[in-house]
């Protein structure tokens, strides 16, 4: 899986470097550099062709749209991954807390009900069978 990313990354780096060199040529253009400019322009087209070919290998890869917002703001996209993990952990802890609290409540409720309704709670436990109060 990493290989197809490496191939795409390589093509993108070459494309960006080509564009950068094209920009340098254009920034202070001389008539003698027209041939080089034409070559760079054709490299740009072939570069886009190579990148387009990589698309077939990556058709199953999906990127969340929120990452694009980070990039558009000039922020590191790894911050999105970091925030996702932090949110997942926080939600995990929150739900675990709820589950633990409900379990404690259940055990306390059964305990108190057993004091008040011992016979009924014995029947309840018999019906529930393998679900002993915690």
């Amino acid at each position: 899986m990493a290989e197809k990313f490496d191939s795409l990354e390589e093509h993108l780096e070459k494309f960006v470097e080509n564009i950068r060199q094209l920009g340098i040529i254009v920034s202070d253009f001389q008539p003698s550099s027209q041939a080089g400019l034409n070559q760079k322009l054709n490299f740009m087209v072939t570069g886009l062709q190579d990148i387009d070919k990589c698309r077939q290998q990556l058709h199953d890869i999906s990127v969340p749209l929120e990452v694009f917002e980070y990039i558009d703001q000039g922020r590191n996209p790894q911050l999105y991954t970091k925030e996702c993990l932090e949110r997942a952990l926080a939600k995990n802890e929150q739900v675990k807390g709820k589950i633990d609290t409900m379990k404690k409540f259940k055990s306390l409720l059964i305990q108190e009900l057993t004091k008040v309704f011992p016979e009924d709670m014995a029947k309840y436990k018999a019906i529930r069978g393998e679900d002993p109060p915690t």
Binding site: E13, V16, R20, G23, I24, V26, S27, D28, F29, Q30, P31, Q34, L37, N38, L41, N42, V45, T46, L48, Q49, D52, L65, F68, E69, I71, D72, Q73, G74, R75, N76, P77, Q78, L79, T81, K82, L85, E86, A88, L89, K91, N92, Q94, V95, K96, K98, I99, D100, F117, E119, D120, K123, Y124, I127, R128, D131
Partner: protein, 250 residues
């Protein structure tokens, strides 16, 4: 008379059918639950909400009610699932390494820290120069499906005027100054004089060099001081001796 009695019996049958069958209510259950008289007890006596309720639902509820004994509205527990919120999902999905990598260390804020080799001012928002990815998704550019190389006639459109670009367009080539600072930092390290070393750290060669340089420096400093003292009015003795010597020469 017979017809009226038959009609009344039919009405009674319909009346009893509407309000459930003639099931005997268990008196012990009612007493155990502590319900007083006048309150409904047992599932059989409860009237169904609508006459058109599906029969299978009613049968299921009657079965569960019958199996639950005195506990009305007792439902079956949901099936036990292995994966719940009480388990650590990060360890479950083997994301510990990713968590330590992203949340254990400081992740730098800027995009240029993620893509240091990308030229241009990439830390600026994309809305400033219409280079946002969002606009590309919302309004994709209309283009052909294939990429064809540029022909000679097409390339004639790229014949440019000689000379430098105006300053407005030159901003595209400005890169973030981080690399320059690194080089400067490295250069400053090499250009800075050797920091004072402890006697244990210095080599013998450096010691020898320092010994050789130190007396020369001292001599130069002494000569400079002598020159200063000769020309300064604070030392009349030296100045008078110079004057006497100069006069004697004349």
């Amino acid at each position: 008379m017979g017809g009226d009695r038959a009609g009344q019996a039919g009405m009674m049958e319909n009346f009893s059918a509407l309000f459930g069958g003639a099931e005997p209510q268990p008196p012990a259950a009612a007493a155990a639950l502590g319900f007083g008289p006048g309150k409904p007890a047992g599932p059989g006596s409860a009237p169904p909400p609508t006459a058109a309720a599906p029969q299978s639902g009613e049968d299921h509820s009657r079965k569960t009610a019958a199996s639950s004994g005195p506990f009305y509205l007792m439902r079956e527990l949901p099936g036990n699932t292995e994966l719940t919120g009480s388990t650590n999902l990060i360890t479950h999905y083997n994301l510990e390494h990713a968590y330590n990598k992203f949340c254990g260390k400081k992740v730098k804020e800027k995009l240029s820290n993620f893509l240091p080799d990308l030229p241009g001012m990439i830390d600026l928002p994309g809305s400033h120069d219409n280079s946002s990815l969002r606009s590309l998704i919302e309004k994709p550019p209309i283009c052909s499906s294939s990429f064809t190389p540029l022909t000679g006639t097409m390339l004639t459109g790229f014949r440019l005027h000689a000379g430098p670009l105006p300053e407005q367009c030159r901003l595209m080539h400005i890169q973030p100054p981080k690399k320059k600072n690194k080089h400067k930092h490295k250069q400053s390290r090499t250009q800075d004089p050797v920091p004072p070393e402890t006697p244990s750290d210095s080599d013998h060669k450096k010691k020898k060099k320092k010994k050789e340089e130190d007396p020369e420096r001292k001599r130069k400093k002494k000569e400079k001081k002598k020159k200063k003292n000769r020309h300064s009015p604070e030392h009349p003795g030296v100045g008078s001796s110079q004057a006497s010597s100069s006069s004697s020469l004349r």
